[in-house]
Every structure is written in structure tokens, then in C-alpha cells.
């Protein structure tokens, strides 16, 4: 089929055939596993559809962006987020798997925060959705704790030389959300407009919030 010549990153066409020959065995392997487990009554394929749909359409970085926008707009919410991020975030309806125990860390003019999981791929699913490939890959996990400025440069981010860099390695069950600094010139914006400025990467620390002109 024509798809044989498509680059591998274009595959999200919903069929179960992967056009990259290297990955074909995995499609077969996962299908076999699902088949065996379904035949034994251990899983329900419809439940799997519902799980996938949840993470494709319901849980994603927009949740976290709303948390940040509210913290920017409402000092009492920001204070709550600082003291008990799990409860503050749950008050907006964002709870659940890989978000059971949340901590919010605030960027300041003095300190930039960056989150990594060197041991696996711990990531706050309930506010950011599923992690991107680079977050789970060895290049990021190995170097974020040792050379964060080098990593940031690969994301196009250059911090002032005197800015302290604080890296949080998520080695336990706490999941970190970075609250980026509120961009200048956003005084008149409501929470929805502010949330548009909050990128996924800015909540990991590999990016900054966008300025209103760039949004």
C-alpha cells in the first residue's frame, strides 16, 4: 500500500498495520496479547477503547494549563496549590492515575524548575496527559539531572546565567507540576486566555509560558 513510503511519524490512522517494517512485529505481538487475554475473559476490548479514548480526548495538558492560569489569577488558589497541590488540583476536577500525589513548584525570577524521572517515566498524567516520547527516552532521562541547561538549549530555551536551576527527579509517587512565570503584558487576560499561554513543556520546565504576542 502507498503507506509504505510514508515517514513513520505520520501513523495515527487508526488501523493496526504499522507501515514501518521494523515495528510490524510489535503490532502483531500486542494484538496477540489482547486476543489471548480477551479469549480468557481477563480483559474487555471495549474497556481498552474507553481507556484510550480517555487519554486521547479527555486528559491532557489543558488540565494543567487551567491549574496554572488559576494560580496566576487567584493568589489564594496559588497559596493552596503551594501547600496542598493534590487538593487544589482536585478542586478543579483533575484527579486520578499518576496524579494521586501532586506537588506544584513555582518558577521565580531566581529559580527555574525542571522535572524528570531518571528511573522510568513518572509524569503527572492527570494534569498533563500521557508523556511525550522524549520525556520517556534515555537522552532526556540521562542528561536532565546533569546538564539541564544543555537539555534546555535543545528545546530552544536559554536562561540567564545566574538563574538557579532546580531539577526534580520524580523517584517516588509524588508528581510535579511546574508553574511557569506569568508572562508580562497579560494583566487584562481572563483565565481561559491565560491558559492559552501555558504550554505542556512549560509545565515540565523544558519551556516557558508564551507571551500574548506569540500565542
Amino acid at each position: 500500500m502507498a503507506g509504505h513510503h510514508e515517514p513513520h511519524h505520520h501513523h495515527h490512522d487508526g488501523d493496526d498495520h504499522d507501515h514501518d517494517n521494523h515495528l510490524d512485529p510489535m503490532a502483531a505481538r500486542v494484538r496477540a496479547l489482547e486476543t489471548i487475554l480477551t479469549q480468557k475473559g481477563l480483559i474487555d476490548p471495549a474497556a481498552i477503547d474507553a481507556i484510550v479514548e480517555t487519554y486521547e480526548t479527555k486528559v491532557g495538558p489543558r488540565n494543567g494549563a487551567r491549574v496554572v492560569a488559576k494560580a496566576w489569577s487567584d493568589p489564594s488558589f496559588a497559596d493552596w496549590l503551594r501547600r496542598d497541590a493534590t487538593a487544589a488540583i482536585a478542586s478543579l476536577g483533575y484527579t486520578g492515575r499518576q496524579g494521586e500525589h501532586m506537588e506544584a513548584v513555582f518558577n521565580t525570577p531566581d529559580t527555574h524548575n525542571l522535572v524528570v524521572c531518571t528511573l522510568c517515566s513518572c509524569y503527572p498524567w492527570s494534569v498533563l496527559g500521557l508523556p511525550p516520547v522524549w520525556y520517556k527516552a534515555p537522552a532526556y532521562r540521562s542528561r536532565a539531572v546533569m546538564d539541564p541547561r544543555g537539555v534546555l538549549a535543545e528545546f530552544g530555551v536559554t536562561l540567564p546565567a545566574d538563574r538557579q536551576v532546580r531539577v526534580w527527579d520524580s523517584t517516588a509517587e509524588l508528581r510535579y507540576l511546574v508553574v511557569p512565570e506569568r508572562p508580562a503584558g497579560t494583566e487584562g487576560l481572563d483565565e481561559e486566555r491565560l491558559a492559552d499561554l501555558v504550554t505542556r513543556d512549560s509545565m515540565i520546565g523544558t519551556g516557558l509560558a508564551r507571551s500574548p504576542e506569540a500565542a
Binding site: 480468557k40 481498552i48 494521586e100
Partner: protein, 219 residues
């Protein structure tokens, strides 16, 4: 364990490769791998700690050559075999040949939203008071357990400062191996970048880990 998963400070993996407009899944099978892994986990036969240990127990060459959902899938197969749900010949023949172990529960469509929204909280009460307090200097123990641990190699034997007491949490080193939850206090411990990486390290850098109490001793 000193497995392939313990990546902090390793070199040679090249630059980070952010993608523009990255898709959530890079192949259709990845969707199913995620869903099958979560649905099988919901049977309740193993913990998140045991599943992490299954992933990090892949041969290093296999781990590094595998994408993340490949790692998940290979580990899931091991867990299913270990717990008697599936046998090796069934995986090889790609069909069910016999019933296998009975699950505690099967995730239904109606369960998905509440189960995902509830997650799996792993905070637990700890009877003893915390041994350390914010501001205490602590040294991470020099340990190399053959089983699961969440103390990464790059901080072992280093002195840091307790920044926060986070509460009591299930201890992964025993929980991963069916030896109980044995909750302990967890602390956020901060290390100066130069203490970890030497004089050439970024002087502005500090790194924290979240460490269970038995990983630490007074410095």
C-alpha cells in the same frame, strides 16, 4: 537494581529530540499496548512497583533497543506468565490454550472512568515519627540491591539536605517483590549539582530526589 532504567548521569544517548506537533501515539498498536497494560493491571495481581521491576529487568540491550510501549508490552508478558494468567506456549502460538489463573476482577467499560479517576493512592500511615526534619543533612546509603529500588545510583553515597517531609508511602523495595507495603516516610532531599557531578558542574544546579527513610542516614 542497577538496571538499564537507572539513567541519571549516563552519557552517549545523544540530543533530546522534541517533535513538532507530536502525535500521542506513533503507531496504532501503541494505543492497544497502553490499554491492555492498564486493563491487565486492573486485575489487581501485581503492583505498580512489581510492574516497574518487570520493565527494568529486561536485558539492557533489549531495554535500550525498545520503545517505551515495547518495554511495557514485554514486561506485561512476563507479569502475566509469572502470575499464571498466560503460558509461554500461548504467547508463542498467539492464542489461548487453557484457562489459567482466575483474576480478582476484570475491568469493565463502566469501571474505566471511576477507576482512572481514583488512581492508586499509595500514601499510608507510618507509626513512628519521621527520623529526619527539614534542614537536616543526610547521606544516601551506598546500596546496590539486586531487587527493585527507587534510589538512583547517581545520588548514592552523597550528602544532601532534607527539604520536605512528604508523608508515609508504600516502600517499593519490598512491595515490588510481594514482601509487603512496609510504608516509610518519604523526604525530598536536595543535592548541590557540584556535589553530584564535580567541579565542572553548573554552579547554579541543584537536584532533588524523593527518598524513603531507609535510603538515608544522618550525615
Amino acid at each position: 537494581m542497577n538496571g538499564p532504567q537507572d539513567l541519571g548521569g549516563q552519557m552517549g544517548f545523544g540530543p533530546v529530540a522534541p517533535e513538532m506537533d507530536e502525535p500521542l501515539f506513533h503507531a496504532a498498536w501503541e494505543r492497544r499496548a497502553l490499554g491492555v497494560t492498564l486493563a491487565a493491571g486492573a486485575m489487581g495481581a501485581w503492583t505498580i512497583d512489581e510492574s516497574r521491576h518487570a520493565r527494568e529487568s529486561l536485558h539492557p540491550a533489549d531495554y535500550y533497543a525498545s520503545s517505551y510501549y515495547e518495554i511495557w508490552t514485554k514486561a506485561l508478558e512476563r507479569l502475566l506468565v509469572r502470575h499464571g494468567f498466560v503460558d509461554e506456549d500461548e504467547l508463542a502460538q498467539r492464542k489461548a490454550l487453557r484457562p489459567g489463573a482466575a483474576p480478582k476482577r476484570v475491568l469493565t467499560v463502566a469501571d474505566v472512568a471511576p477507576v482512572l479517576a481514583r488512581g492508586g493512592p499509595c500514601d499510608r500511615p507510618v507509626a513512628a515519627p519521621p527520623r529526619f526534619a527539614p534542614g537536616d543533612r543526610v547521606r544516601t546509603r551506598n546500596i546496590h540491591p539486586v531487587g527493585h529500588t527507587r534510589l538512583p545510583r547517581y545520588v548514592r553515597g552523597h550528602v544532601g539536605t532534607v527539604e520536605a517531609v512528604r508523608g508515609g508511602f508504600v516502600f517499593p523495595d519490598t512491595n515490588a517483590h510481594g514482601r509487603g507495603e512496609n510504608p516509610q516516610w518519604v523526604y525530598t532531599v536536595v543535592f548541590a549539582g557540584r556535589d553530584l557531578w564535580g567541579d565542572d558542574a553548573d554552579p547554579t544546579l541543584s537536584v532533588s530526589v524523593d527518598a524513603w527513610e531507609s535510603y538515608l542516614e544522618p550525615a
